[in-house]
Amino acid sequence: MSQTPPSTDADVHSAAFLDQDRVEGEHEAASVRAAMINRPREELYAYWRDLSNLPAFMENVKSVEALSQDRSTWTIAGPAGIDVELTSEITEDRPGEYIAWTATEESDVDHEGWIEFRDNAFGRGTEVRLFISYDPPAGVIGKLAAKVMQREPRIQARRDLRRFKQLMETGEIPTSQAPDAAPRADRHL
């Protein structure tokens, strides 16, 4: 980081401002996304803090099983159709404001994340920022496979946060999945 004081009020130290194709971080793949959600901060925090809710909007989290107040086992759809398991431990929990978690050592993947909830100063709702990082299984090959399957953290954080916003604001997650939600003609006609 530069030694000169920042000339802008934006939080340029946030990972969201880093060009992730060029800057190597602690993890191989990481992303921060922000969304304005038109619901009260406490409600959003409470829904997220009940980790059994995560599979409802996190595309690749298939199930979450609570082990204790702070520890839970997550089954995640990994590359090439292989499920990976991780044990997640909440490392920081500030009710209504912030939750951070990390995968414990016995997990198949190295993963950490945090979510932050802030009141918007101008009454537009709650500013939610989500950070997800992980070192995918099987190193480079795993990352390539994850890329193909669009489960890269950048896409994952973007889509998961969008689904969270959709669920919180509208009570459901929009879909155009064929055939039920959006019928279509057979591709091979």
Binding site: M36, N38, E169, T170, E172, P174, D180, A182
Partner: protein, 390 residues
């Protein structure tokens, strides 16, 4: 069910596809009684819109009878409804500002990436209009699934025929918003490029909103005739130099507002348009924005340019100097249909305008492909096609 599906450039056909299902609590299924082919469907037919996929059901102008409802739909089985082409959640920041076509939630998360890259922010969901806008199935079908059915559909009273209210789904509110964006003051002269369905509704709307005079521009005799019958003076751009004619007709002032109801596939043989056409054909990615340029050049100093015509890609050679030096205002956007529906239904029920004069053909859905071909190839005679799925 039967549905009109897209299989590539100039290749649409009626296929048998699965019936749509209720998948979310706010969904409803409607049995489609009438649906129309929109001018913007021709951009899909011409393969000008990216992210179409083989087998997609088209159609975003449709109405029908409620067949089935989800647990949180406010509709009742048996109600007649018109369905806005814009899908809006009703609860996000944008819907709260009645900017429904900017809805932040209606485009599924797995479909939003493309518009976020192309436009900076994800686009709202639209029915039957590519995967850029959500990949939703359209309404040129026997049945359609309506997401957020408690927000969009407008219940229509009995005793008024489909044809009179069908265009509430898109082209009437689109013409109305185009006129609103022209910020008309009493006695203003408004020039409207394009006398297709949106242009005609823009003409009707401008006059209802107090324009003193509307000058309509096209080259198709039948469409110019319709414009004239709606109270516009007309210019055939094959016969006159449009900008000179407008300057002359307004005694040197110029039109107070100009409406581009043409969009990205402008016709004509001006040098800029030929260059644009070559670039478009060779996939260099520029829209054919001849009309937009002409509206900027023709508009009076301090005037307004309103753009209901559809653009999707990148523009260049815009007369940015004229825009700045004349102090113009440009307003555009997909229509915030939901915002206008109650008022426009009242205008129809009060008999304040004819909403059916543009319909040239009513066909069974099975003949939809023929409708597309003719609407595309013979626009003089085929001014608006309504399809009947049942």
């Amino acid at each position: 069910m039967r549905a009109l599906t897209w299989h590539g450039k100039h290749n649409v056909q009626v296929d048998t596809v699965p019936d749509p299902q209720i998948v979310n609590p706010r969904d409803a299924i409607i049995k489609v009684t009438s649906t129309a082919i929109c001018g913007s469907d021709l951009h899909l037919y011409d393969s000008m819109i990216p992210s179409m996929s083989n087998g997609d059901i088209l159609g975003h102008e449709f109405m029908g009878v409620v067949e089935e409802v989800g647990s949180r739909s406010t509709l009742k089985v048996g109600q007649r409804v018109v369905v806005p082409f814009v899908i809006a959640c009703g609860s996000c920041f944008f819907c709260g500002k009645q900017q429904y076509s900017a809805c932040d939630n209606s485009n599924p998360a797995d479909k939003s990436d493309l518009s976020e890259v192309a436009y900076g922010y994800p686009a709202a969901g639209l029915f039957g209009y590519s995967h850029l806008t959500g990949g939703y199935a359209g309404g040129q079908a026997e049945y359609a699934r309506i997401p957020y059915s408690d927000v969009g559909p407008l219940v229509i009273p009995d005793g008024i025929e489909d044809e009179k209210v069908l265009f509430l789904t898109d082209i009437f509110p689109t013409g109305w918003m185009a006129a609103e964006n022209a910020e008309i003051e009493p006695g203003d002269t408004v020039a409207v490029w394009g006398c297709g369905p949106v242009g005609l509704f823009a003409i009707k709307s401008c006059l209802l909103q107090g324009a003193g005079r509307v000058i309509a521009i096209d080259h198709l005799p039948r469409r110019l005739e319709l414009a004239k019958a709606n109270g516009a003076e007309v210019l055939n751009y094959h016969e006159v130099k449009v900008r000179e004619a407008l300057t002359e007709m307004t005694a040197g002032i110029g039109p107070d507002a100009c409406i581009d109801a043409v969009g990205m596939e402008a016709h004509g043989f001006s040098p800029d348009n030929i260059l644009d056409a070559v670039k478009q054909e060779t996939k260099l990615g520029t829209d054919r924005q001849h009309v937009l340029r002409e509206t900027i050049m023709a508009c009076r100093k301090g005037g307004r340019v309103s753009v209901p015509g559809v653009y999707g890609g990148i523009g260049d050679k815009l007369p940015i100097g004229a825009f700045m030096q004349k102090g113009l205002t440009i307003k555009t956007g997909q229509t915030h249909v939901q915002k206008y529906l109650p008022k426009l239904l009242d205008l129809i029920l009060e008999g304040r305008l004819d909403t059916t004069d543009l319909i040239s053909h009513i066909l069974p859905l099975e003949r939809a492909a023929e409708g597309y071909k003719n609407f595309h190839d013979n626009p003089n005679e085929w001014t608006k096609v309504v399809l009947k799925p049942h």
